[in-house]
Every structure is written in structure tokens, then in C-alpha cells.
Symmetry: D2
Subunit: 306 residues, 4 copies
């Protein structure tokens, strides 16, 4: 198998201030599907074209932000290999028993140098995408709103940026695909564990452990337009877009969930391989790197969830 080790972002657990508003947002506006709830009041959601039981966990809280981001590894043995790598890198790891999240196997948790809770797991209950595996249709008709296809990546702000990038590239086998640099200082790093232009990205920041956004995939630029229309029709707070990113070429729009967590829906327009050159954006061109059309950063976009 060419795809080995860490496969993809498996889920993100987001803290939300009002669970009903949050469920309504992710399900009615974005098209995710509720698959379970647990005794802690957490609600489990998946995008329609995901096979695993959940990719988003909404956790009732008194502050917004990301509790943790979890990556799915290919095989049980990968879990222990990466746990060893992380320990060797110098971080403590913690085992979270199977079932702590319903349908999810044992997880290995560690705090990345930038302050984010990162987890790995090898097992999650597969509930399917609602389409038979024999003679399947290309899509489901009953998906709502933006019809998000999958949870795709997170962008995280944290301190100890260089250590975080070292952790992901050296201990976790991620590939640096694109970066923003200010002279010798890397300001942003886009990291892939697949052929996607990014599975996670990090921004150098003074404060630790911040979530910039959780991102979900759409199928085309026309679907980004429909998402933009829905944002206005449903009076969802828009941040920026629709536009294209310079970084990753993605076609994108940003907005906020009712708790103030930033969401992105986007359509891909790029791919990488291990032998792809690293693409570098210089800080004098940071506006274009982020928002390719306006070539200007906006203040609203710089904020993060607590």
C-alpha cells in the first residue's frame, strides 16, 4: 500500500456554547449528519461521503475552540510506531481507552509543542456513506445545505512553531507542501500526509493552542457559490470569500459557527506527491498567499477561537 501510516484527519472535537444551535448549524446549514450522542452531551456528526461513524464531535462548553484533532492511522501497529516516535521526540503520550468516543478505538494523545491536543487512532466504526457498495449512485439526494463531502483539515495557531513542524514532519511523517516565510522565519506551514495540499496547517503565533478554522470539502467552485448563498440566506456570519487561496489554490469561503468557531468550505484545485517542490510564499506577498484575488489580509481573518 502506497498510503500508509497516518491516513487522514479522522475527526475534530469542537467546543460549542449551545449544543442545539451548533447541531442546527452543522446539520442544517452544512449538511452533516448526526450519528450519535453520549452521556457527556457530546454530539457526533459525519459528512455524507465519509465511511467512518463521525468526523466532528460537538462538545458543550463555556468557551469555543478545539478540544482535539485526531488522525486515523492505517493499522494498529502504526499507532504504536507513532506513539514511540512521539515519545522519542520528547513528548508525553496518553492512552485514551476505546469507547471514550463512541465507536472509536483506543487513541494516543499528546500535546503538540504549539499547545494543541493531537490524537491518533487506528479503529473507528464504519457506518458507510448511505449508498450501497454494490452498484452505488454517485451522490445522495437527501443531503442538506452546503452538502459538505468530508472533514478535510484544520488550521491551527500556536507557539513553538518550529518544534511543531519538526514533530509532524519527523515523528509523524507529514510532508511540508507550502509555507510562508519572513526571511529565515517560517510563518506558516502546510503539511500533508497524503496527496492533498494540506491535511493540517500551522501558523506561528505567540499564544498556544488556538484554532483558526476547521475545513470541509465541497465538489466544485459552483458548490462554493451555493455555500456562499446559504451563508447569506441563513444569516451566518461571513468571514471572507468566496475567493481562491494562493496557498494550495483552494477555492474557498470562511464563516463562523454560532459559537464563533471559524469554518471553511472549499473545493480543491491542487495535489502533491513526495517529490513535489515545496512552494514558498514570501511575507511581502502574504495577502496574495492567503486571498489570491484581493491580495489583502483582513483583520477579521486574523482572529482565532479561544
Amino acid at each position: 500500500m502506497a498510503m500508509t501510516g497516518i491516513l487522514r484527519p479522522g475527526h475534530v472535537q469542537l467546543r460549542v456554547l449551545d449544543i442545539d444551535e451548533a447541531v442546527n448549524h452543522y446539520c442544517e446549514n452544512m449538511g452533516l449528519i448526526e450519528t450519535d450522542r453520549d452521556a457527556n452531551g457530546r454530539v457526533y456528526l459525519k459528512c455524507w461521503d465519509e465511511q467512518d461513524k463521525f468526523s466532528v464531535v460537538l462538545e458543550p462548553s463555556d468557551r469555543a475552540g478545539m478540544d482535539h484533532m485526531a488522525f486515523k492511522v492505517h493499522r494498529e501497529q502504526d499507532l504504536w510506531r507513532f506513539e514511540a516516535n512521539v515519545k522519542k521526540f520528547g513528548l508525553d503520550t496518553q492512552k485514551i481507552p476505546a469507547g471514550e468516543l463512541q465507536g472509536c478505538g483506543e487513541r494516543v494523545r499528546f500535546i503538540a509543542p504549539g499547545g494543541h491536543n493531537i490524537e491518533l487512532f487506528a479503529q473507528k466504526e464504519q457506518v458507510g456513506n448511505g449508498i450501497p457498495t454494490t452498484n452505488p449512485a454517485p451522490w445522495r439526494e437527501d443531503v442538506k445545505g452546503m452538502k459538505a463531502i468530508r472533514f478535510d483539515h484544520c488550521l491551527l495557531y500556536g507557539d513553538n512553531h518550529d518544534d511543531t513542524i519538526r514533530l509532524f514532519t519527523e515523528a509523524l511523517d507529514f510532508q511540508l507542501t507550502e509555507q510562508i516565510v519572513d526571511g529565515d522565519t517560517q510563518i506558516a506551514a502546510f503539511l500533508s500526509c497524503s496527496t492533498k495540499a494540506h491535511d493540517v496547517a500551522f501558523i506561528r503565533n505567540e499564544e498556544a493552542g488556538k484554532l483558526h478554522h476547521a475545513s470541509f470539502l465541497l465538489g466544485s467552485w459552483e458548490q462554493v457559490l451555493k455555500a456562499a448563498d446559504i451563508i447569506s440566506m441563513k444569516d451566518i456570519p461571513l468571514d471572507v470569500g468566496p475567493t481562491r487561496h494562493g496557498l494550495t489554490r483552494g477555492m474557498t469561503i470562511y464563516y463562523f459557527d454560532p459559537s464563533g468557531n471559524r469554518n471553511e468550505v472549499f473545493a480543491e484545485d491542487s495535489y502533491v506527491y513526495p517529490d513535489s517542490p515545496i512552494l514558498t510564499w514570501t511575507v511581502d506577498n502574504v495577502g496574495q498567499a492567503i486571498f489570491y484575488h484581493s491580495r489583502t489580509l483582513v483583520n477579521s481573518f486574523m482572529g482565532v477561537s479561544s
Copy 2:
């Protein structure tokens, strides 16, 4: 690195009856770029967004068809590992010296059970995609015709089908993503070495070593329409499309190069991971599996290049 081993289809060498007509077709109609010629009269082409020196080699010949399909592996050591695997599988392998194809490193060649020449290589000169790696634009303005993004996959017809699939899945680490079955008999197998729904596909056939088509990626369904328009504007023989495949969900159109080699350009609408379920199409539904809208196979589509 999650992506390891065999990364992607690196190139296809196609036999063509008239080299000038062929170069005109692939460059003017499809947008490939000529990067070199050699003493054997072979012409080297690449798609605009590929980094490597070539992904198509046109070889003057008195009959159409595929000379060989070559996959790029991640590292030199992968080359020898897969060579050993192939030998262990029971096939002879042959080393082709670096430089036999200009800019390409040493290749390992073997004849797959279905009669196709398959090659692996670890090294190819990178010439870039014509866009700077610092502050890159999302696309090039000077690309012609259909603006094919990359060589994507081949569909091959051959005998000893089950052995071929065993070779690719057991010795070469490909993943079976989708299949057509007639009872217990697998008629078609779609194989991935990445997260693409297919990097190569095989159809069970009585004759060995046939090429059904070489396929190239486009960016959207609108680009498939423009390709379709160009096919008619340039009086290129159409086979089938534009339409969608049931298999892989791809949005597609088929046509022939001047030598009678079938080409496809298509836009992706799917992806797989190692834990994705295998999708199975039953033979009673083969029309829909291939052409999702008409649900009918057409005779023209069944033919192959010699």
C-alpha cells in the same frame, strides 16, 4: 511519509503511426508540452502541471498501442524492493539503464501476466511546471486546447486477469477500489496506489497486452465540456461522452488520437483510503457502471489498440 512505495503513473509510451500528427494532437488539441526528442525518433511530452520531464512518450511505429506504462516509486530502495517482489511473484525482470529514456533513471521492466510491459523507476529529471515555486500563480495562461493537467491512469485489456490483479495488489501494493463482477468472476478491476479512485485499471480479455485508453486529468466538468467542444471543432474522432462513469464517479469524455489510440480526459469526483470499502458493480449493471447516464455500453467503446 504516508505516501510511500509506488507513487503514481509516471509515463506511458504510446506507439503512433505518424509522429507529426501525433505531436500535433497531444500538444495543440490536448495542451501537452514537448520537452525533448531522441535518436529513436521518440518525442517526450508533459502536461503543464507536472514537475517531471515527461509523462507521455510518442514512439514512431507501424501499429498503434502501448509500448509500456511506467510507475514512479518514491525512493531508489523501493525500486529494488518491488523488483524483488515481482521476481518472488514469479516474473522475470529486466533492468533498463538510466538515460535510455532521456532524463529518466534506471527502470525495472517486467511483463505483467496480462501481457503488458510495466516499468518502475525512481528518478526522473524535474523540469517544473513553468510556474515559480516562490509566490506561484494558480495556473499558466499559455496552455493550449484542453489544458490537460496530468497523465492520470491507463485502462488495459489482458488475459490472465486474476494473476495481474494479484501481481498489482500483492507484489506492488496497489489497492482494489472498484470492480465489475459476473458472479464469481471479476471482469474489471480498478487499482490505486494513492487516494485516487484508480491509477491503473484492468479488464479481463482473451487477448493479451491491449491498451483501452490513456487518461488525462482536467479540473472540472466545465473543462470536460470545453474538451468536448474542441473534439468537435478540431474534428477529432469522438468515442463516448461527455458523461459520468458509475465506476469512480469520474466526469469523462473519450476520443481517439490520429493513430487510433483511445484517450480520455476527465475530472475526478471521488477518492479512496486504504479503509474505503471496495465498490462492486454487477455485470447486469455494467452499462451504468461504465456510462452512468446512458446505462448502455456502446460497441465502439469495447475496442482496443493493437
Copy 3:
């Protein structure tokens, strides 16, 4: 007002063999909305973005086909002006009282030389498009299936072709926009009463009064793909497409309602003005004229409803 006289196709009354199946097809598959039924068992439908009460009337019958096609004129006085024109042209006219179709004003009916019942009316109840006229959203979220925007045109087969075209251009002020010719013989005529490439079209035929298809507008080529997917997902008999027409540049797909009436959904890609040149397709190129990509007429497409 630059738009005067005959404004647009106002409705088509189609004969259907099973009213429930027909309603299900036009509403669930195509997205039309039922607005009324009458004592004759007729069901009234409108597309979501139409203001008038109905644009399709389904009439229970023992044979498929078109009962009549009706055009809306701008003002009452236009109705009488065109009635006089039609009489002067040599045809009998008939007045159908207001309310014979619910919500529709008085209609002037005549049989065009090709054998079709054509009607004009000036008044129809406006029920709106379900979006407020103050601060309106760009679209409705509750539209089903293909989400057809409006009834757009019909293509009719009939005898006495030249007289029909004379009637529409001389008495009814339509403009010939495109045609297929075989030497001096016009085989097909596309006629506009607006800036659309066609509001009605006629094909020279030996038999009188046949319906080839009733056509409905979609918003983009991507919507044509989704319609094509729905055709297969709902097991609707496909005729041809998705493809582009040479004539009118339209992006199109054809299929049949449960009674065998041919439907088209299409996206526009052209427009005309009174000073636009007439575009002519020669019979040796008729395949490309109709199906721009395949450049081949298919037998299925030549048939008509009884």
C-alpha cells in the same frame, strides 16, 4: 417597452397516460410545483422561478403528446391584434373563455399549418416564485430534483412546414434565428420572440401535429450533470446527453416522461437580437447541428409523441 407583443411560451398542455406517475415525474424528478387541479382531472404545475400560476398542464389521456402550446402576450390589445393577424393569414381562430384553464384569462386558439394547437393569452394569475419581492434571496432551498427554472420552449414536428414558419414570422412577429437547410429546403427552423435563441422550433415532417420535446431551463452545465445523474438514479429513460447542441449552443440532456413525452433540460449559452445574423446549418452537417460532440443523429432522437 422593447419587449412587446408575444412575450414567451406561457404553458404547454401535455397528454399523459397516468396522472400520478406524471405528477411524480414532473414534481419529484424535475422540481416543478403543483399549483392546482381541475374538474377535468388536469394538474397544473409551475417551475420554481416562474411568477405565473402554471406553465405545464398535465391532462389525463389514453395517448401521449401535446394538446396545445400557449404563448403569453404583453397586453390585451396584443391578443386581438394577433388574432386579426392570424385570421388575415387565413386561419380560423377560436376563443376559449377565461377560466377554462384555472387562473388563465381568455385564450385565442388556432391550428397552425403543421397541425399544432397554438394559443395566445394575455392574462394569467400570478402566484409568485415563493421568494419575497422585497430583499429576495437568489433561489429557494426547497426545490426538488433537477430544479428546473422555467418552461422554455417546445420543438414541434409538422407538415406544411413553410406555412408554419410564415405564420410565426409574419403574423406572430417571431424571428428566425437558426435553421437547418437541405439545398433550398428548410428542414428545421428555430424561432424567437425574445432574445432567447428559440422560444419554439419546428421540424419539417410528413405527419402533422407531433411533439418532439418540451424543454425546461437549468442554470449551468453543472446542473445538467446533476439532472443526468438524477435521470439514472431515478431510472428515467434517457434519450441523449449530456451534450451541447450546435444549434443555439445549448447544453442539454433529453429523456422521457412516464407517458413517453420527451423532455429536455438545458442551460443556455447564446442570445439573439433582431439584427443578429441567421445561423444556417447544412444537412450534411445535421449531426453536428443537433449533437455538437458526437456529430451523429441517433434513431431514438428522431421519434415523436403521438
Copy 4:
């Protein structure tokens, strides 16, 4: 003919500070084609899919802005009818002899109450769209940059707003399609002489005779994205977009020519008939009326050319 009287915006004459830069912008960036120059240094341009000789005239000047906007009428007699209407409305009219603009017939000029030079003409040399009128292809391959299809409309700022709207609706037969109102005061009026949501629009303003933008048609939202990319790739000053308008539903992007004249390219998503309801946007919702997604007016967008 249902389309009578004033057919469409025929051309706009824009003042530019540097003729070479302007020609480069409109031709290389936007895809217009130069068709003539005259002794006054004016350069004549057309969009590829227009039949008439020119739709944009670039006039060397020391200040940017609009010299005049001209509408094409259907027949010579319409010219004199509208001239009489305008005089009856109380405005002076001026005849400009045929040939003053090369290839253009006699023009009737008047100054609208808001201070803009408006002209009517019935005749302009037709040079065609470069595609044969027999068996035409759907598009031309040699069009550059954004590939603008046609000059579509202007948005003008002026004083005496109510009189201007009265002139266009009463004397020139335009239809009010959409408006922004502040209580009883109309702030903006969108006017159509066709089935387009607007052929010209006016904003109430203290200063007379200002140009907000000249707008050009594209074929799809994907083409708006490519235009947006080109704006950044060519370092053209962006104003706003890509986004959707609430008013007219248009999918749009705004930017500036090298002289500071604002341009729009957009894709249509709406149409009107004489019996369409007037759509009204209230001033408290003006942000959404203009920029449907951000729901916020930006300062840059409020400025006008001198």
C-alpha cells in the same frame, strides 16, 4: 418582432489617460478585439461574440470617465420616434452625423437629467463574431484573457435621479426591474430594455454625470473565477469580488482599468419580462442588495470616475 425600439447598449466611450495601457488592458486582460482607430486617436474595440463593429471606444483624455453611452435601436424610425419622445420630455437633442464614429450611423444625443451623455443610433457596421454563419462553432479559440462575451450595461451616478428614471421609463420605454429604496426615496434603479435584469442602472447622487462601472458578460461562475485569477496574475487593481449581487442575482467581480475606470465582468443568473414584479431592496439591507455574501458595502465601491 417582440424586441422593438431600443435593443441594447450599443457602446460606451470611455476616457482613458494612456491609450496604450488602456488598449492593453481591454484586449490582453479582458479579451476585447481592436477593430479600428480614428484621427482623434480613439480606439474601437468589440467583444468576441458581438456582431457590430465596436462596443467600446477608448478616447485619449486627461481624465477618466464616460464620454457617452449609446443604445442601438431596432429601426431608423425608432430613432426619430425616441428623438421626439426625448424632446417632448423637455430635453434638447443633437444629431451627430454618420461616420463621426467609424462605422456608426447617425446618432441622436441628449444629456439625461443626471448629467450623462446618452445616445441612440440605428445603424452600425456589422463585422461578425469571427465564426462563420454557416455551421458555426460555439466559441472562438483565439480569444484572450477573461474572454468577455459582450458589453452588457453601465451603472451611472447622477443627480436629478427621479427625472432620469422618468426619462428612461416614459420616453425610452425601459422597464424598472429592481430598485433600492430609503422610505419613499429611490436610491438605485435597474432598468431593462430587454429580458436582461438590467441594460443600464442609476444611483441617486449629488454630483452629476459620473460613471460607476462599465460591465461585460461572462459565461459562467467558473469564468468569473478565471477572471479573478487573471486580475491577480496581471496585478490589476481589484475592487470587490468574486461574489454574487443580491440585485439581479449576478455573479460578479469588479476591478479598475489603468485609468481608474471601474470594470465589472459578471455572469447572469436572472431574467425579466414586462410582467415580472419589481424587486425592491430596502436601504437597511443595502449591503446584501449589492454584495449578497458579505452583506456589507465597502468604501472603495462607492467611488466613481471623474
